[in-house]
């Protein structure tokens, strides 16, 4: 389906653009940006398979050497750094968000979207993220979880915003929720 491919590329570009628009950077390890909001939205709007493909497309292009990550980062070096798990985790995160969205059709869009974004963009994303940090920085999983903890409140906020955006988009364009089509 050509339209599917165009939507996948569009959301990949949205993930990139959300990271490059100047945003809040807390003084801490992984830069805080709206980028993971883009990943959550990809899953929530596009559904599991297409959402994961949009995330995979961005990860692939970063590996090719394009500066598509927050702050203009990119290249193979990112895959040797401590945040590698969060980057690779975007793919299962978007998939999980879409999967939840596809299976909560009876919930209102806001509740389903926020829940999907929370489960995908936080629960599923932090597992590879924490494993990656633990491996690269040679710390135990518990210690690495401690390093990641400060980012969770911001990400919960992003999940709520993702739910609100899904509701607003659904109102503006009735056919936008491909995850529920």
């Amino acid at each position: 389906m050509d339209r599917d491919l165009i939507m996948i590329a569009l959301f990949a570009a949205l993930i990139a653009a959300l990271g490059l628009i100047p945003s809040v950077t807390l003084i801490s390890g992984v830069p805080i940006s709206a980028q993971s909001l883009g990943v959550m939205l990809s899953g929530v709007i596009l559904g599991a398979r297409r959402g994961a493909l949009a995330a995979a497309l961005i990860v692939f292009m970063v590996a090719l050497g394009l500066p598509l990550l927050a702050g203009g980062r990119g290249g193979i070096g990112v895959f040797a750094g401590p945040s590698v798990g969060f980057l690779l985790g975007w793919i299962p995160a978007a998939f999980a968000a879409g999967w939840v969205m596809e299976r909560t059709r009876r919930l209102p869009v806001f509740a389903a979207g926020a829940l999907a974004a929370f489960l995908g963009g936080i629960v599923v994303l932090y597992i590879p993220g924490i494993i990656g940090m633990a491996l690269i920085l040679k710390k135990s999983l518990l210690e690495a979880t401690g390093f990641a903890l400060p980012f969770i409140p911001g990400d919960i906020l992003k999940a709520v915003v993702a739910g609100a955006l899904a509701t607003a988009l659904h109102k503006a364009r009735a056919d936008v929720l491909m995850s529920r089509a």
């Binding site: 050509d2 491919l5 653009a17 401590p82 988009l169």
Partner: protein, 201 residues
């Protein structure tokens, strides 16, 4: 859309992406097996020498691309400083710096076209699984074309927000109009692609 390939021509630009990636893989595995801080000086020195052999300006650009690592280095410094475990801290910091620096070096000295060509060749056998290289290439081109457009529109929405609002920085409020215009773009692109006979396989 700029790639991270350095404009400064170096001898490393002449080597194909295949050998460079293979060398990077071998070097990374070797660096991961080093356990003593004294021995870790070797990959750090080799990385620094490789960058410096490409000129001062190139080396400075390389140093800039390592900047996102500083929070992690600070974390390692604090952690191993508090636990009085300096040797392990230094080994880990050296490992992090040298592996990331070497990987960045490959990206900085390889043209995007060469990297795409290599990946197309590498992905070709997956055609039997239903993967269509033409569609992947189309998607990459579309992302390259759309990202600056969305970025520009995001900046304009941010300026408009600043003109109206008291707060200086726009937050998530600009994401909704950004998404809506992006969805309209998708409709236009879908029409244009259809008119031209669809996306090639």
């Amino acid at each position: 859309m700029l790639s991270l390939t350095s404009e400064i021509r170096t001898p490393l630009h002449a080597i194909g992406p295949g050998p460079k990636l293979a060398a990077l893989a071998i070097a990374s595995v070797a660096i991961f097996s080093i356990a003593s801080p004294a021995l870790m000086l070797l990959p750090v020195a080799v990385s620094a020498a490789l960058y410096l052999s490409c000129g001062r300006r190139f080396a400075r650009a390389g140093l800039r691309s390592l900047r996102p690592l500083w929070p992690f280095l600070l974390l390692l410094g604090l952690w191993h400083g508090l636990t009085q475990d300096w040797a392990n801290g230094a080994t880990l910091a050296g490992r992090l710096l040298s592996t990331v620096a070497l990987a960045n070096l490959v990206t900085m000295t390889t043209r995007l076209e060469d990297m795409i060509a290599l990946c197309t060749r590498a992905l070709a056998p997956l055609r039997v699984l239903g993967l269509k290289p033409g569609r992947i290439a189309f998607a990459i081109g579309l992302v390259l074309r759309l990202t600056p457009t969305l970025l520009d529109r995001g900046r304009q929405l941010g300026l408009a927000w600043r003109a109206r609002a008291r707060r200086r920085r726009p937050g998530w409020q600009i994401v909704l109009p950004l998404c809506l215009t992006a969805l309209d773009d998708a409709d236009h692109i879908a029409d244009a692609v259809k008119a031209r006979g669809g996306i090639p396989d």
